[in-house]
């Protein structure tokens, strides 16, 4: 599939807008879903998902053909979702900067406080409940967990998508897994 996408990208670069439609059509669900998991809201996911493709189109000439197109696209999407989260009112999100290892205790504690009332959980499908718990992670852990386990990127690819050193990616996955373990052990 990647070669076919590369072909389409070349056509777009030559000015063929209709070739871009096939790219959007191919990646729309993946990108929408990624935005949804990052933002926890369908309306915003649609907005940011569309913005991702518009940015990709406008900046298509800066895409290096030797690289993987999907990595580039996820990079745009992830950056846009993080920007959107930052622009929300401070009380809207949980990512009060957590420094060092103390952070783990802090957000795992938050996770316990954030837990939904029992009756609500019972009515919710398990998979949606899990989506909710992933969304409850601070964005920097949320993004790596989503990319690793739901989009199935390799550690190196995640490092490319997020433009972070491999070691940082590993640390974030490690902490994200621990935080989720605490949230999901009672499931």
């Amino acid at each position: 599939m990647e070669w076919k996408i590369k072909e389409k990208v070349k056509q777009v670069k030559r000015g063929d807008q209709s070739a871009f439609e096939e790219i959007v059509s191919f990646y729309q669900h993946k990108i929408f879903q990624h935005c949804y998991r990052m933002l926890g809201n369908r309306y915003e996911a649609e907005d940011i998902g569309q913005e991702t493709f518009i940015r990709a189109y406008v900046n298509i000439h800066s895409f290096d053909d030797k690289r993987k197109f999907s990595t580039w696209l996820y990079r745009i999407a992830t950056n846009l979702t993080i920007d959107r989260i930052r622009k929300r009112k401070p009380d809207y999100y949980l990512d009060a900067e957590i420094k060092g290892t103390d952070g783990l205790n802090m957000y795992s504690q938050m996770a316990a406080d954030d837990r939904l009332p029992e009756e609500e959980v019972q009515g919710m499908e398990l998979k949606d409940y899990i989506t909710q718990e992933i969304y409850g992670l601070p964005p920097k852990y949320r993004s790596v967990i989503i990319l690793r386990y739901l989009e199935e990127f390799s550690l190196q690819e995640i490092s490319d998508v997020l433009d972070l050193p491999l070691g940082t990616v590993k640390t974030r996955i490690h902490r994200g897994r621990e935080a989720l373990r605490k949230k999901l052990r009672h499931v």
Binding site: S25, Q28, H29, Q33, R37, E46, F53, H174, R181
Partner: protein, 82 residues
Amino acid sequence: MSCSQEKIKLMHQYLDGGLEKQEEDKLRAHLEECEACQQHFHELKRTITLVQSAGQYKAPDHFTGEVMKKLPAEKKRVKYSR
């Protein structure tokens, strides 16, 4: 509670596929004799399975159409510049 941060770190390295055979054997031997770590490891693996079973979400039907409508107009001159 689990043993030490060091053992937990090994578990995460294992889950990322970055453990040398020797360290893996060490971890396995420890898990066999330490119930708390075994539990911790089991919870981590189960967490991954649970995360992988999270809901799938599809873009709305009009998604691609909306994107195409919002794109800046095609630069006509590109066609002739070739």
